[in-house]
Every structure is written in C-alpha cells, then in structure tokens.
Symmetry: C2
Subunit: 291 residues, 2 copies
C-alpha cells in the first residue's frame, strides 16, 4: 500500500508519541522529528507506510539508545489480555460457531494498537466485539478455503492482540491444521516479537517464526529467503492488522485479512468506512469483503 | 514562542488540511507535505510556529496557484458571525459590565479557528461563553491600564472572529479611546485580512492597518517600520488568538492577550490547562493571568 498524504501526518504523530515514551528532552524529541522530516522530504513514490514506521524506530534508537520504546506497554497489554484469556476461551467453547467466535475475538484483539489509537478499555472492546454486525459474505469463502488447507501461516500484529490470536490458532489446531505463527523480527512499535510469543505461551502451541526483519508489517521484499519459502508454501495466510495489510495488499493471496480499519487510507484501500471490522479473503481468483 | 515537538505534527496537519482545500490531487498534496518536510528538516532553533504557517501558505500557492485557500471559509464565517451580530450587540448593551461582556464575546469569537480545530456550532459557542467561569485577576489590571490609555492597537486574528472583535472595538470607542485595528497583510490561513475588515464594515468604525506581511500572527521582526512605530506608540496593545501570542510572547508589553489556549504548547507557555480561556495582561512590570 502506498503512502497517502494523511499517512505522513500519522507518521509524525507516531514519531512524537514514540519519542515522548523514551525521553522528556524536548530537543531530542524535536531532533527525531526533524530527521523523520528529512526522510519524508526524499520519500520515494513507491514507499509503504510501514517502511517509515521502521525508520522512526531506528531514529529513536540511534538518537536515544532505546531499542524498544514500547516494551512496557507491550508487557502491560499482554498481561491485560492474559487476564481475559480464560473468559475468552469459554466464549469460544460455548459458541454455536466456535470458528466464527474465534475470528470475532481475533478482530477484537486488533483494537489494541498504540500505533494508531490511544488507550481504551479492553474488556469493553471485547464485549462490543460480540455485538458487531458482521456482514459475512467472506466467511463462507474463507471456510471453504480453510477446509482444503493444511499448512496455515498466521501473521500476528500487536502485543496483547497475540493472546486473542491464540484462541483462533487453537481453534485451527482443533481442526487438524498445521499452524505457524509469525511475529516481527525485532522491536517494531507495539508489535509482538518472539519475546511476546514466549511470554503468552504461544510458542508452546505452535512453531513461531519471523521474517527476519524488525518491520511493523510483513513485506516479502525485506523477508528472508526461508520466510518467503514458508509464505509461498502455505495453503492459506491469515494476516492480522493494518501493518501486514500495508505490506501485503498487492500480494495475490491466498490471504485472509482480519483487521479493524483504523484510518481513512486503510479504509479507502479496502473500500469500507473507517472503523469497519474487516474479514476479507484475497485469493488470486476471487475478492470480497466483510465490512 | 518556540516550536514544540507537538507543533511539528500540527503543522503537517495544517498543511494537509490546506492542501485538501485546494486540490483533490493526491500527488500534489503529497508534494506539499514533502516540501514542508524539507523545511522542517532544516528548522532553525529559533523558529516560531507562525513562520512555518506562512511557509505552508506559500508552498500551497507555489504548487497549486491558489493564493487564498481559506477564502470561502472566511466568507462563510464572516456571514455566520454577522448574522449573530445584532444579538451580540444587545448582550453588550444589556450587560451590567459591558466591557467585560465585550471581552467575553471577543474570546468567544476566538473559538473560530480552522488552523487548530474543525467546524462547530457558533451559536452554541457564544451561549457557552456567557457561562464561562473567568477568574478575573487580570481584569482589574487591564481596566486600570485601559483607563490611562488613549491609543489602542487591536491585533485581530481570524475571519468571523473579527465581527466579535468589532463589539469590543465599539466598546473602547464609547470610552473615548482611539483604536486602530490590525489585520494580516495578505492571506494567512483563515486569518482576517483587509478584505474581511471591509466586508464586516470594521473599516467604517476605525482605521485598519497591516504589519505589511502575510504572516498568521504579528512578529515585529517581519513588520514594516511604519507598523513598528505604531506598535511602540500605542498605550496598550490588545492581542487576539494564538498566532499573535506566538509572535509576541517575548515582547515586554503593554499587551493584553485574549485567546482560547487550543493546544498543549500554548497552554504550557501560558501556564494554563489546554482549553482555558485566557485574559492575560503582560506589562513590563507585572504579569498575571486569568485561566
């Protein structure tokens, strides 16, 4: 996905928030923003927002020495989500359609995103997620594709959210699928890394791998050859969140995008209203969406 | 006032909004933001936010040919305010303290600011302004200073707001003061210019001058020698809004700042909470505030 003009404003907001997390020194904060401005001034036409997201992380690291500004926030959200986990498991078990419930909750988990929004009541978000009106035009194509799939690559997004993903991963395992979970190759905003996968115990359930790069979204251009081979070999790729969508929106699939469209550019790309909860199947031969 | 890190984000937001007003061409919008980024990358330590505000206006003009992107918005807000004007006049006439009422309404008019906020209900804003709890510690010093003053320089801010200023100008004239009203020397965001002063009939009541520059706030560094002479000769300068505060916050006075502190940096500079309605007298020998 290309960088919309609105993305530029958002990137500066992200850089400000990230720099405020690591230093109260206004000169340092301003220097980070000035160096980001230098990058934006030279922005190539084909740049993708997450590439600049990574650059922000690098600038903050270079200028303040802090490699992982969101570390405490990620821990806090993992803890919050883990506290909810038994209740979420019951919801899936008791549901008429456990797969759909696990999908709903996986999207609910995507509401946790410090890269776009601010703090919120997690329990409230879950309660609301159960009442969402999902137009299910893409659920059936997804179920069909899933029935035929064996190898599933699940691309995680944020810390905290990873606990919600665990429910869907477990539901897939119950259906006899082989699932590999993907986290970022290093600190990238509040995105889940190997540390988070370990912290929430996901690595006990499935293999956890990375694309080999600390980018806040999967982009095959930057991924290791090993990762690309795994991506191509998968029968189905489940992609969580905006960052992965930004990096993969031009890939042919088979992909299932699960996300909340938190900003106008993403909503525009998907053809939905901002705020829409999206379950979109992108296959080489068919496209649809649930908004 | 210096440029806070937060101001940088705000300037990009302003550039985006301004470019969206003049073109739907995303490439042009992005080019405007990229060129602003080039300026921010080289930002001098001593820069003031309104200097970048002017640069945005220039970039939009250079790249799209549109010199006055907010022209229609300014007209619309002048019309809205003119529609309220007879009712506002009655409020002043009927008030126990017409001067204080005129000041309250002048601050109410400052809520109109497309450079910071979005659209709003003007009538609602006026109704609320009458209920504000104003701590009046600066009203008495202002009244004393006013009693001794003859020549008053009144620095206007936005279109629309200029109609509210007219009420305070008229109240000052009733008290036998000589008032000169100052507008921008050319298009500067949604700020009032000579065109607006003429449109709302302010030029029939008092002399209207400009500092000779299209900057969204008065800065003596950029003002004409004639304007600086008028500024120095005034017994009292009434300064409306954030832009004028940004440009004059380091001047010794005698100045009366009337504004709503719409953002954190301005609130921080004034020592008030964001959203506070400020009547602050800045004299060489005394400082206080009403928040």
């Amino acid at each position: 996905m290309r960088i919309y003009p609105e993305c530029i404003v958002c990137l500066f907001r992200l850089a400000l928030r990230t720099s405020e997390l690591v230093t109260a020194d206004e000169r340092l904060q301003r220097e980070i923003l000035k160096q980001l401005a230098g990058e934006i001034a030279e922005l190539p036409e084909a740049a993708v927002p997450i590439e600049l997201g990574r650059r922000i992380q690098e600038l903050v690291h270079e200028l303040t020495g802090v490699a992982d500004p969101y570390r405490e926030i990620k821990r806090r959200y993992n803890d919050l989500a883990l506290g909810l986990y038994p209740r979420l498991q019951e919801l899936v078990t008791a549901a008429d359609d456990p797969l759909l419930m696990a999908i709903r909750l996986a999207i609910a988990g995507n509401v946790i995103d410090f890269a776009v929004g601010t703090e919120f009541d997690l329990g409230q978000a879950v309660a609301e997620s159960l009442e969402w009106e999902l137009s299910l035009s893409d659920y059936e194509p997804f179920r069909e594709r899933l029935a035929a799939a064996n190898e599933i690559l699940y691309l995680g997004d944020n810390a905290g959210e990873i606990v919600f993903d665990k429910l869907l991963v477990e539901e897939l395992l119950r259906r006899g699928k082989r699932v590999t979970y993907v986290v970022r190759g290093g600190p990238a905003i509040n995105d889940a890394t190997l540390e988070d996968a370990h912290y929430v115990g996901l690595d006990k359930a499935v293999e956890v791998i990375t694309p080999g790069v600390a980018l806040p979204g999967v982009m095959l251009r930057y991924a290791s050859p090993e990762f690309i081979a795994r991506f191509r070999a998968a029968d189905l790729v489940i992609s969580k969140g905006q960052g992965n969508f930004e990096g993969l929106s031009d890939e042919p699939g088979p992909l299932l995008f699960l996300l909340k469209a938190k900003c106008t550019p993403i909503a525009h790309e998907l053809g939905v209203e901002p705020g829409a909860l999206v379950l979109r199947v992108a296959l080489a031969f068919e496209l649809g969406r649930i908004g």
